[in-house]
């Protein structure tokens, strides 16, 4: 019974209802769920998914990722009869706003978005506003292969419990990219980065905070500079606490900015633009959120052969990215099929191959068959990718609250 209540996330129950009403409600929910448009068991889901078209809204700025998604489309078509259409977004919020507009208009079925590539604050907002379908991940057979203990961010996304409303897809970890043809010694900490920038004025910058990598840099610096990073794991308690905690960061940025590209008066509009500037020799050090993306970029020709990566001694921020299904998708079963396929050893292996995309797996290798384990082990690392033992510790993403307030404060100080 409990289960039924959960599956119908859009149904609301009155708090003042009498026990009899509860009974009727539960009974109706039971009826509803048996007639509902989506099945509960995996074979049932597979059956219903056949012939459905899934509109997957995902950032479309990377050629490698787009061709990977294209491959996924061919695979799910052949194996499950699901048609996958990649709606290429300039930013995830485009899709969030579309779902919101649909909810505002009262459309509860046949929404235009069936699957969405998401994490962090976008997920937090959608979940908070009841824009997501679920929980659904427990129904996906491949979900149990996920490495929950080794990769806790697959269950807690930016300190927001996932609760089965999004299925893990890939792992990300903050790192720096540099051109070894021009940089001989790389900084090992945030203060050392400042020293480096002072010696090489104009050769480093970070993206504008409207790009997630720009605000991740702020959080990365804050974690290392603030006295008590523990407070970042919870929401911001008060204005005073924010001022006290972030003071060392602003102090640091005030010293850093005069030595940035264009003296910190202008910032690259996105992480991709920043990567292009590294390729154009306008910068010597740039940022990345995927340790093997640099190898993939070298392979595809968007970074020089001499590009390499480095991390910080005390560790860097890591998180997980997911796929979620909007509450009003008309192809939920198809979307679940795709989400499940994305977590399959086959799809995860293809994705981790640096010649294709180079995005790290969310799976626990030990849970896989011997054959798959072997295949994962034989994947090439990539010329610019650090081996796992050199990637350093992984730090948790601060609570989204911090990100929002840091962005706003940064805008106030430097964004005008």
């Amino acid at each position: 019974m409990n289960n039924n209540l959960k599956t119908n996330s859009t149904a609301k129950s009155g708090t003042t209802a009498k026990p009899l009403n509860y009974f009727i409600l539960a009974f109706m929910l039971l009826l509803l769920s048996s007639f509902s448009a989506y099945g509960n068991s995996w074979p049932e889901i597979r059956e219903r998914a056949k012939g459905q078209t899934v509109y997957w809204n995902a950032w479309g700025g990377s050629e490698e990722i787009n061709s990977y998604i294209n491959w996924v489309g061919i695979r799910v078509k052949n194996e499950y009869g699901v048609t996958l259409k990649h709606v290429k977004l300039a930013g995830t919020a485009d899709a969030v706003s579309r779902v919101l507009a649909e909810k505002a208009a009262g459309r509860t079925n046949n929404g235009s978005v069936d699957l969405i590539w998401i994490n962090g604050e976008n997920f937090a907002k959608m979940k908070e506003n009841g824009l997501l379908f679920g929980p659904f991940t427990e129904k996906l057979p491949n979900f149990k292969l996920v490495d929950f203990s080794g990769k806790p961010t697959t269950l807690i996304d930016f300190h927001i419990p996932v609760d089965g409303f999004e299925a893990p897809w890939g792992m990300a970890k903050f790192n720096f990219v540099y051109d070894s043809a021009r940089v001989s010694e790389t900084p090992k900490s945030i203060p050392e980065l400042l020293k480096w920038a002072e010696r090489h004025s104009g050769r480093f910058t970070y993206p504008h905070v409207t790009d997630f990598l720009g605000s991740t840099f702020l959080m990365q610096a804050l974690i290392e500079l603030t006295e008590n990073p523990e407070v970042l794991n919870h929401s911001v308690k008060s204005k005073a606490a924010f001022v006290k905690t972030t003071a060392p960061l602003w102090n640091y940025l005030n010293q850093l900015h005069p030595h940035l590209w264009r003296s910190g008066k202008s910032f690259p509009s996105s992480s991709s633009v920043q990567q292009q500037m590294l390729n154009d020799s306008e910068l010597d050090i740039a940022l990345s959120f995927n340790p093997s993306a640099t190898s993939a970029a070298i392979a595809s020709g968007t970074l020089p052969e001499s590009a390499r990566t480095f991390v910080l001694k005390k560790g860097t921020i890591g998180n997980t990215h997911f796929v979620a299904i909007p509450f009003n998708s008309g192809s939920r079963e198809g979307a679940m099929i795709v989400a499940n396929f994305l977590m399959s050893p086959e799809a995860q292996m293809e994705k981790q191959n640096p010649g294709i995309w180079g995005d790290s797996t969310v799976l626990a290798i030990a849970k896989l068959s011997k054959q798959d384990q072997q295949k994962f082990k034989s994947l090439p690392l990539g010329i610019a990718t650090l081996p796992p033992e050199k990637l350093g510790p992984t730090q948790p993403n601060p609570h989204p609250d911090w990100k929002n307030q840091l962005d706003a404060e940064w805008q106030r100080r430097y964004g005008q």
Partner: protein, 576 residues
Amino acid sequence: MATTIRTVSILPAFPILTKLLFLIPIAAGLFGVLLPSLGYFPDLGGNQFHFEIFHQLLDHPALPNSVSLTLFSGISATFISLCLAILLAAMLSQDGNSGNNKNKITRFFVIVQRGLIPLIAVPHAAIALGLAFLIAPSGWIIRSLSFLVMGWETPPEWVTLQDPFGLSLIFGLVLKETPYLLLMILAALPQIRAQEYLRIGQSLGYGNFRSWLKLVLPQVYPLIRLPVFAVLAFSLSVVDVALILGPTTPPTLAVLILRWIDDPDLSFRFLASAGAVLLLVITLGSLFFWRVSEWLVLRKWRNWLTNGKRGSGNEAHNLAALSGLVLLGTAFFSVLGLAFWSLSLRWPYPHVLPQRWTSRNWERHWSSLQETAFTTLEVGVISGAIALFLVVGCLENEQWRRVKFSFRSQWLLYLPLLIPQATFLLGIQILAVRLEMDGTFLLLVWSHLLFVLPYIFLTLADPWRNLDARFPLIAQCLGASPLRILFRIKLPLLLKPLLVAAAIGFAVSVAQYLPTLFAGGGRFATLTTEAVSYAAGADRRVIGVYGFLQALFPWIALLLALAIPRWRFRNRAALS
């Protein structure tokens, strides 16, 4: 006679239908942003009307700089484009009778014109992307400089792109808007019989340029006022060009609004709506300011018009030649840069040409290109055809019923060009979702129609009205029905302007970014939406593929529009 009456009696339906097609979405769009800007958006918990959000907007730290940047870049871009268009048009309308030297000059400007006019067809985003590569500190110009003279190992630290004053943004806009205004001026010249005035001016001893300024300009300006206003409104509210060429700290108001719409914190929707209302106010204010300035300029210069001072004004030649060359060269190399990128595997700084060439970028995208190109073609052709049908109907109604399309209804047609896109598209989206119409092909075509139709009307109205009335009159006397006159007399006579209007309509449709995104519900990918989403990824090789095709498509349409009449009427000089 009976058929005549029947045909003519359905004509009034055309302007009515056209007006309805325009009024409904615009009204819906405006309501859709006005309500949230006043705090009403029930699904986000806004149930009351208040002015809090406008206070919040005006207190926003980025607002003052953003607004002044918007005003400065928008007004300067319009002013410069207009001046250059006037200068070039004046050079083009000199007659070549007075000596060999002049003939050469005229021929030079005709080449400039032939090169510039097709630019109208190239979407803004494509030109902006090409220009960005051309002028960036690691771009083509500096690479060539470095190769030839300077030998820089790393790009110089110059601010040539996304500069805080928006100069590169202004340059990009001027590059696109000058050809458009030039075409509008050239199209208006025959109506005022410019050549005859110029001859009179010359016979009175005024130089060519001077007679153009004193005799032609005062007559031609009122005819191009609407296009100038459209350019001004567009420059103030443009999104894609400002994203690529404009500064980031802060960006222009339109980009700031888009950032708020894109913010995952959904409460920013209120602020975005208020910003959109402010952008509308700024646009209307600027149009008013422009109109007042016109009046002031006229007052100040009226004496100059009639002071009787002669002089050649030939010093303008060099300036015109220089600006013509700069515009033409920049546009050519911007598009060429895109083409080169699409064929390169690696093209790092400081190489002037790609290090390694490849056809891989095209092969890789071939299958998705076909689908995207087909959608682009489909929407462009259908919306263009509907617009052409409605415009011809409205113009026929005008002639048969002898009512001129009223001033007010003409303004209605231009409203979509004068109201910032971000302002009303957001509202349309909400309404469309309510009507279960979003993401349908119908809505996509409709939203394109809002932008395609005004341009087609603008291009076709004057040739249509100026067609020698004696031709249809003779046909009528011989007993031809209105339909027969239309198909046997008018359409063939007006084939060239019809095809040019259709090509421009098609080009406008190809260039639409925000309407395709909002009305298409993300389900329709066109060359432009793909190009802009790849622009976010900054892989110039892919941008090159889409940008180049995006530029090529409308250009071919325009070429066809010019070639078909020439072939069809190869033995009738005046029609080809």
